[in-house]
Subunit: 305 residues, 2 copies
C-alpha cells in the first residue's frame, strides 16, 4: 500500500491520513496493521491523566519541549471520551501546542469518541501502533479525566503519569478514583500552593503501605513555570529502566497485545451482530424475546449460531 | 430454583442474594435469567445523572418519598463506575437514604465496577431486570457522573433525567458532555441560585433548535426544600405517556434487548479468550505476535478458530 510506504519514508501527510483511516475504522484496517506492525515496538508509550484543571495540557507541553531538546521525536495523542455523541474531539487541535506546530519532530492528534463497545480505546491503541511504526521515540497519550474509560485507555502505556493538584482533593479521593493502582509516577502540580506538601506526604505514606517492586515517586512540579519537569522526566525514565531490568515490560506488552486481539474480535462480533439482527431469523429471535417466549441468554444462543 | 421462587413470592433476602449473584456473574446466571425474564417488562425504568454536586442523591431521595406516597414500590440502583479497581461501590449503602431503610416498599443497592469490557453496564442491566421481575413499579438508576461509562449505563432507562445546577457550567458544557442527546427531562436544581434562570433559558433555547417529537421539559427544583419534585415527577410521567402513545417505548425496549444480547455474547467471548490465551496454541500465537512474525489481526484470526 503506497500510503504506508509514504508514511514509513517520513511523509507527514501520509501519517495523518493513515491515522484518520484507523480512527474511522477503514475497511483496509487489517491490511494497514499487517504492513505497519513489523515496524512497531520501538517507542516508549507514556500515559498521562489527572482530574480536570490539574494542568495536564501544560505539563504535556513542557514534556514535549524537554524531549525535543534531547533530540527525541514526540507524538501526542489527546483523548477525550467525555462526549460520546459529538464524534469528534472537543480538545480540538490544541491551540496551546501551537509552538510545536511547525516542528517536524512533533506530531499532535486529538481523538474523540467513535462507536461503542470500547471503540475509542481500540482506535487509540491502533493510532499508537501507527505512530510507533512512524518512528516516534516517545508517544504521549493524554486523557481528559479519570473516569473508567480514560483509565482503560491508559492500559496501553508503559508508564502512567498521574498529575494532581492540591485542589483536586485529598489522598482518599486519589485512592477512590483508582489512581493509586494505575500510577507509575505521581506529579503534584501547582506545587506553590499551600496544601501541596500535605498532599505529597499523604500519597507517599499510602505508597509506603503497598510494598511493590516499583516505588512510585511523588514529584512536585509547577508546569507553568517549567519547574520540576526535568525531574519528572527523570522519574519516568527511571520507571522505563525498571520495566526493562525487571522484565515487567514484557508482561505489559503481552497484556497490551492480548487486549488488542480481544478488541479486534469484539469489534468483529459487534459488526456481525448488526447483520444478524437485520436478518429475518434475527428479527424472529428478537420478536420472540420481546414476546417473552425466550430469554436473553437463549436469544444469544440463537443469534450466535 | 428455590431462590427465584422465594424472590418472586416477595422475600427480600432472596432478592438481595439474587442481585449479588447477578453482580458477581454467578455460574447459574443464565438459568436465573431464564426463570426471571418472563416476569419482567412491567417496571418503569428511570435513569438519573448529572455532574458531581448537582444534588442527584437528594433528588432521588425526594423522588422516592413522593413515589411512596403514591403507593408505588421503588428500587434505587446507584452505580459508581469511577473506581475500576475497588471492586465495590464507593457510594456505600447510602446513609442519606436511611429514612427509607425500614420501608419494605423501597429497595436500595449500590453497584461498583466489576470486570471489564462493559461488565458494569451489563451487570446493571441484569440487576434492573431482576428488580423488574421482583415487582417494583419504578426502578431508579442513578449514576455518579457524566462520563461515557455512565451515559452507556443510562441507555437501559425508558426516561433519562439530567440534573444540573447553575455552577455546573453553561449550556455549551451541557452540550459538550453529550447530555442534550441523552436527556428526556432536565431538572435545574438549587434553582434559588442567581444563575439558575439563565441556565434554564439557555437550555430551553438549545432544545428549541432540535425539532424532535418529544420536547424536553426544563424544570426547576430545589430538592433540599422538596420544591419542584411533584412537577418533576409529572414531567417524567408525561414522557412515559409519550413513549407509550408514540410507540417509541417499543423501540427503546428493542434496543435494550439487542444490547443485552450483545453484552452476553461479548462476555462469553471474553471468557473464551481467557482460555484461548492459556492454551498451548494460544501461547504460540501470542509468542509469534510478540516476535512480530504475525500481526494482531492475523493473531485474532488464529485465536478465534
Amino acid at each position: 500500500m503506497q500510503l504506508v510506504k509514504d508514511m514509513l519514508s517520513g511523509q507527514r501527510l501520509a501519517l495523518a491520513r493513515l491515522i484518520s483511516k484507523v480512527e474511522n475504522r477503514d475497511e483496509d484496517l487489517a491490511s494497514i496493521m499487517e504492513l505497519l506492525y513489523p515496524h512497531t515496538g520501538k517507542a516508549q508509550i507514556w500515559g498521562l491523566t489527572g482530574p480536570p484543571g490539574a494542568g495536564k495540557s501544560t505539563t504535556v507541553d513542557r514534556l514535549v519541549t524537554h524531549l525535543r531538546t534531547q533530540g527525541k521525536k514526540v507524538a501526542v495523542v489527546a483523548v477525550d471520551p467525555s462526549s460520546p455523541f459529538s464524534g469528534g474531539a472537543i480538545l480540538g487541535d490544541r491551540i496551546r501546542m501551537q509552538q510545536h506546530a511547525t516542528d517536524p519532530g512533533v506530531f499532535i492528534r486529538s481523538l474523540g469518541t467513535r462507536g461503542k463497545h470500547g471503540g475509542l480505546s481500540h482506535a487509540t491503541k491502533e493510532v499508537v501502533l501507527t505512530l510507533d511504526a512512524a518512528g516516534f521515540d516517545v508517544i504521549l497519550v493524554e486523557t481528559a479525566g479519570v473516569g473508567q474509560t480514560e483509565l482503560d485507555i491508559l492500559r496501553l502505556a508503559h508508564t502512567v503519569i498521574v498529575i494532581l493538584v492540591p485542589e483536586s482533593g485529598d489522598s482518599i479521593q486519589v485512592m477512590k478514583a483508582g489512581l493509586m493502582e494505575i500510577a507509575d509516577v505521581f506529579a503534584v502540580n501547582k506545587c506553590d500552593r499551600p496544601e501541596a506538601d500535605k498532599l505529597v506526604r499523604e500519597i507517599v505514606n499510602m505508597i509506603g503501605m503497598e510494598h511493590r517492586d516499583w516505588t512510585i515517586p511523588v514529584l512536585k512540579t509547577e508546569a507553568v513555570r517549567d519547574a520540576g519537569i526535568a525531574e519528572l522526566i527523570a522519574g519516568i525514565e527511571a520507571h522505563q529502566g525498571y520495566l526493562t531490568q525487571s522484565g515487567a515490560r514484557q508482561g505489559k506488552v503481552r497484556t497490551f497485545l492480548k487486549n488488542e486481539i480481544a478488541d479486534i474480535l469484539m469489534e468483529r462480533l459487534s459488526h456481525s451482530l448488526e447483520f444478524a439482527f437485520d436478518s429475518s431469523s434475527g428479527k424472529e429471535v428478537l420478536q420472540d424475546l420481546l414476546d417473552r417466549k425466550i430469554d436473553p441468554y437463549k436469544a444469544a444462543d440463537l443469534i450466535s449460531t
